[in-house]
């Protein structure tokens, strides 16, 4: 797990930035502070404005209003070739007519760096991304993963203050993605360059990011470390975006002094208990969410409940996925819940099969509660 680090907090400072295309607002009054040496992920669906924000930092899009400062210098009106940032493109945008070596050297040549220095720095970079023996090849002679590393080397060789990555792993297949994620993090820590990553994949954002900013319809909804966003989302949209959820709609019946709410679910005869620090009024309509992995399933329906929310139900389907098993259980009140169990040892919970009556439990502090 990542440990919180102390960053120079305002290394990149985005102040009230708006981008409009005619009547359409792509980015809507976004303010953000990104620290030096941080990996910051902009997470959002398509049309959320994350790529537009990235392209404004790179100097490809004009800022309609507001200001972006990198290390105290404004990017406003500065052409992309004069900004201390480099970008890794989603399509990699490798120059097809140049060799790998020449692709990486391109940026240094434009700077007028001395020939000998270009040679050493390109060689250094290629060995960092483990492509030294491919130096003389053309991009179309490389695999997707190798091309991704060339794009990374080409963007890093100029030692930018900030590296912008647009869906860096989007074009790779699943196995390669996981491997590349850790490789990317290792290289980032080694060089200490600030990374801003745009992605639509919440898993990618959570693995890579020191912090994540979730965007929707041009706005930043929440900024925080992955754990905070996953476990204490301040918005139902974020909770849903970051993973599968069980939803319970209902009204508050009562709240005890130690913050334990009793909630009667809408239309069905079922109560759930949630512990919260937020003040709620009685009879207030709320949505309670519980992550599938926070619930536990027991084969013995008559056993003694150990948690605040015990229910009896029937298993309607089981999906065995290797590292975990997903159960769908129809509770007695008629509502279906999804539960995941890690298969921590061989034949864990193997005695549960479809149509079995089981007991489902979760603790009151493992759920979140949102007003609606």
């Amino acid at each position: 797990m990542k440990t919180p680090q102390s960053y120079q907090e305002d290394f990149i400072s985005i102040n009230n930035v708006t981008k409009k295309y005619g009547d359409y607002t792509a980015v809507d009054s976004v303010s953000l502070e990104i620290g030096k040496g941080e990996i910051f992920c902009l997470l959002g669906g398509s049309g959320s404005g994350k790529s537009t924000l990235l392209r404004m930092i790179a100097g490809f899009e004009e800022i309609t209003s507001g200001d972006i400062l990198i290390d105290s210098d404004s990017v406003n009106g500065v052409p992309p070739n004069h900004l201390p940032v480099n970008m890794m493109f989603q399509s990699y945008a490798l120059f097809p007519h140049l060799t790998i070596e020449a692709n990486v050297a391109y940026g240094l040549k434009r700077e007028g760096t001395a020939k000998q220095e270009i040679k050493t720095r390109v060689a250094e970079m290629l060995s960092l991304v483990k492509l030294s023996e491919f130096a003389k090849r053309k991009p179309d002679q490389l695999s997707g993963g190798q091309r991704q590393r060339v794009a990374l080397a080409r963007a890093l060789v100029k030692r930018p203050k900030v590296l912008l990555l647009d869906e860096p792993l989007g074009a790779l297949d699943k196995n390669l993605r996981e491997e590349t994620q850790f490789e990317l993090m290792k290289i980032q820590k080694e060089l200490g360059i600030t990374f801003i990553v745009v992605t639509h994949d919440q898993e990618e954002a959570m693995t890579l990011g020191d912090r994540i900013g979730v965007m929707d319809r041009g706005r930043i909804i929440q900024v925080g470390p992955p754990r905070e966003l996953y476990e204490q989302p301040n918005d139902l949209f974020i909770a849903n975006f970051l993973g599968v959820l069980n939803h319970f709609k209902g009204r508050i019946v009562s709240t005890s002094d130690d913050g334990l709410c009793d909630i009667k679910l809408k239309d069905i005869d079922m109560h759930v208990k949630v512990s919260t620090e937020l003040p709620f009024e009685d009879d207030q309509p709320v949505v309670v969410t519980v992550r599938p992995e926070k619930m536990e399933i027991f084969s013995d329906p008559q056993g003694k409940p150990g948690m605040q929310n015990p229910f009896i139900g029937v298993v309607t389907s089981i999906a065995y996925m290797g590292h975990l098993t997903v159960y769908v259980v129809k509770l007695e009140a008629g509502i279906e819940v999804t539960i995941t169990e890690s298969n921590t040892h061989l034949s864990a919970k193997a005695d549960i099969s479809e149509n079995d009556t089981v007991r489902v439990e979760w603790p009151a502090r493992s759920s979140n509660i949102f007003t609606r």
């Binding site: 992309p80 493109f89 989603q90 120059f95 700077e111």
Partner: protein, 303 residues
């Protein structure tokens, strides 16, 4: 050749038929006529119809086949320097026409790729529109425009730029104008195809890595479109070398082009063998450099 030989391999009959059709087409409509021209070029001109001496004669008395294969037509091409001058002049005119077409066509192709999708379609249609009319009619239209009492002179005299008409027709300028006008679409279309498939983020990547717009164009857009440039130049240069209609209608009496020499040999002199030799040499001049170039390309990409 290898692919041709594969026709006789153990593929199924259906597959052979499908692959065979283009080869048969090629054989009947290209190789046979070419072979016929080659044959005539080794013959001798006589007053007959067709005006050529047969290559093989059967001598009934001696009971032998007499072959009269002559290289004299090729020798004639070397003796009279008219032919050499015509070849050189044709290549020069084709070269400069190609260069001008490229210089005009490249910005046009680039502009089309940068336009939005709907405008792109309209612009491409405009590029191809001249093909809906016969070339001859379009060349005659140019005569109307360039004549001493034509459109250009009338307008220039009307607004008072010139006092008396300037001679435009029957000049080298008119000939270049005609060739460039006629062949511009053949340059624009392959350039458009090459530029259109270029990833737009290549240019952004170049800018991002520190290139100014001009440097980004010179180091990325231009070299990455070489395939289109080569294709366009070939499509213009090859037919321009043998061009006959445009130089004879728009060009002056003094413009010497091989297409015109060929026409004169065939129709004015009725000397088919010499005309055929002229055509065969022209083919060799055009094909050999192209084959060398392609061989080179294949080698460099096969590394």
């Amino acid at each position: 050749m290898k692919r041709f030989l594969s026709l006789f391999s153990k593929d199924s009959l259906g597959k052979k038929t499908i692959i065979g059709i283009p080869y048969i087409w090629f054989l009947i409509f290209f190789l046979l006529p070419l072979f016929y021209v080659l044959k005539i070029s080794f013959s001798e001109s006589i007053i007959a119809s067709p005006p050529i001496a047969p290559l093989f004669e059967y001598d009934g008395d001696e009971q032998t086949l007499i072959s009269t294969l002559r290289l004299s037509n090729y020798g004639y091409l070397i003796e009279d320097n008219l032919y050499l001058l015509a070849y050189l002049s044709s290549i020069k005119i084709a070269f400069f026409s190609t260069l001008i077409t490229l210089l005009i066509g490249y910005p046009m192709a680039l502009a089309i790729t940068r336009a939005n999708k709907r405008l792109q379609l309209a612009l491409l249609l405009l590029v191809m529109l001249p093909f809906f009319t016969s070339l001859l009619i379009r060349v005659y239209a140019w005569i109307g425009i360039l004549r001493t009492d034509g459109t250009i002179n009338t307008i220039l005299m009307f607004i008072g730029v010139i006092d008396e008409p300037i001679v435009l027709l029957q000049t080298e300028f008119a000939m270049y104008l005609g060739i460039v006008y006629a062949y511009l679409p053949f340059m624009i279309l392959p350039l458009y195809a090459a530029l259109e498939k270029q990833d737009k983020s290549l240019l952004e990547a170049a800018r991002d890595l520190g290139a100014s717009p001009a440097i980004a164009f010179l180091t990325v857009t231009l070299p990455a479109s070489v395939s289109g440039i080569v294709a366009g130049c070939m499509l213009v240069f090859i037919p321009a070398v043998g061009e006959f209609v445009i130089p004879s209608l728009l060009g002056g009496e003094s413009t010497l082009m091989i297409g015109r020499v060929l026409w004169d040999e065939f129709f004015a002199n009725r000397d088919w063998p010499v005309a055929s030799a002229v055509a065969i040499v022209m083919l060799a001049i055009l094909i050999i450099p192209i084959m060398l170039f392609q061989n080179q390309q294949a080698k460099s990409s096969g590394e």
